[in-house]
């Protein structure tokens, strides 16, 4: 269970600087909040896209979802947190607790 807003929690999952596929982050976040269903999943994916748009995370790899781990036929993105993202996260988490 997490008390952080969704986007901050997603950056927190990625804060170790390792590369994560979008479905990995989404799966973990859904577990944290007890979310279910495709609508929540797509909402969280949109959050990741928005985080990438403001350069808090950046895309490092992509592949087509052939097996349907996320959405069959769609693109899967692999992200890593950026320095900007880490800076914003440390500011966010220090104060949110």
């Amino acid at each position: 269970m997490s008390n952080l807003p969704r986007k901050i929690r997603m950056m927190e999952i990625m804060q170790d600087g390792k590369e994560y596929w979008n479905y990995e982050v989404i799966e973990q976040t859904m577990k944290d909040y007890g979310f279910q269903g495709e609508f929540s999943r797509d909402t969280l994916n949109m959050d990741l896209i928005e985080l990438a748009a403001v350069s808090f995370i950046k895309e490092v790899d992509l592949k087509v979802d052939d097996e349907g781990v996320y959405k069959k036929g769609f693109l899967l993105h692999k992200y890593v947190i950026t320095e900007d993202g880490k800076a914003r996260l440390s500011e966010a988490c220090m104060n949110a607790i």
Binding site: P5, A52, L75, R88, A96
Partner: protein, 348 residues
């Protein structure tokens, strides 16, 4: 072998299109908002309230006090409209989490509400009460210049030459639309300094609000952020502004109770729905296409305000409206046609 880059570009293009779509929704709804916003001044109890206060404290004071009460009730219906919206999206949990994260998120929405409510929306209502919807709309048209400039200065948001050009053409078009009407209003002497002050408040307030809210939006969701911003605004009116007016001898609460009559409430419901969802769309476009572009396209509200004025009030447009409308469309196409890969990341 699937062409990954082509798929990636297509996906990216979708994001940009969504952003522009939200900004366009915002423009349509915003243009509609000037209808209830203007009409409500002539309804009970605001017409008598204005006259009562004007008799004792003068026109300027009457205008400000009445505008404060109208803005406060406007905030109530927007909060209700957004309660429905976030309820459907299942966002109440996220709202509590975002509100609790004060420093990274809700602090920015509180600041945004200070500039959005008591500055921009109040200013707009003052301008509407003084010079009518057309005057209020034109007066605020410069706000994307403020917003794009601040977003660039504060968080290094990129403004391409093309986006800047588009914004300028849209502003030129919007000014042309209202130019004719404004000259008539000026000649008839119906606009005083309070009206101009209201217009200036709207332009700077909304520009600053957009740039500040963007700072909170980068780590929170737009629907939730906006709702918190309006709840904060409501707090400013109900906890601070209205009691202060009451202490100053203006019986705003008795007028507020009188506002509970069908036609007035219908107008406020109309204002709440159009304004609430215009604001949702506005906030949703920022993370996708940036504050500068989002506000630039949303500025098409000038054109939609004219269309809705024609439809609802039956005012026949002048030639300036047609020329200005054409300029607005040209300007937004300049922005739409931007190479979408330039928007891969919004910040430098």
């Amino acid at each position: 072998m699937v062409d990954l880059q082509a798929l990636r570009q297509a996906e990216h293009g979708r994001r940009i299109r969504f952003g522009y779509m939200w900004a366009l929704f915002c423009a349509v709804l915003w243009g509609l908002w000037y209808i209830p916003g203007t009409v409500v001044w002539d309804l009970n109890p605001f017409d008598t309230m204005y006259a009562d206060i004007a008799a004792t404290s003068g026109d300027s004071m009457a205008l400000v006090v009445t505008a404060i009460l109208i803005t406060a009730i406007n905030a109530v219906t927007v909060v209700i409209a957004l309660l429905v919206w976030n309820g459907v999206l299942g966002n109440y949990g996220e709202m509590v989490r975002t509100a609790k994260a004060f420093k990274p998120c809700s602090r920015w929405f509180l600041f945004a509400s200070l500039f959005g409510g008591p500055v921009a929306i109040l200013g707009s209502y003052i301008a509407m009460g003084f010079g009518g919807g057309a005057f209020a709309a034109v007066a605020a048209l410069l706000y994307p210049v403020v917003g794009a400039g601040l977003a660039n200065a504060w968080h290094g948001e990129k403004i391409s030459k093309r986006a800047a050009m588009g914004i300028i053409v849209i502003i030129a078009g919007s000014v042309t639309i209202f130019g004719g009407g404004m000259i008539t209003e000026l000649q008839s002497g119906s606009i005083g300094w309070m009206g101009y002050l209201g217009g200036l408040m709207a332009a700077t307030g909304w520009g600053i609000e957009g740039a500040i809210a963007d700072k909170g939006l980068d780590v929170s969701s737009a629907d939730v952020g906006l709702h918190l911003r309006f709840i904060a605004e409501l707090g400013i009116w109900v906890i601070v502004a209205l009691p202060l007016l009451y202490l100053a001898g203006y019986n705003v609460f008795s007028y507020a109770i009188q506002a509970f009559e069908p036609l007035t409430m219908l107008m406020f419901a109309f204002a709440g729905v159009t304004f609430g969802f215009c604001y949702v769309s506005w906030y949703k476009s920022f993370p996708l296409i940036g504050v500068g572009r989002g506000q630039g396209i949303a500025n098409l509200y000038g054109m939609f305000a004219v269309i809705s004025t024609i439809l609802f009030f039956g005012d026949v447009p002048q030639w300036t409206v047609l020329v200005g409308g054409a300029l607005c469309i040209v300007g937004s196409f300049i922005m739409f046609s931007e190479e979408s890969l330039e928007l891969e990341t919004l910040r430098a």
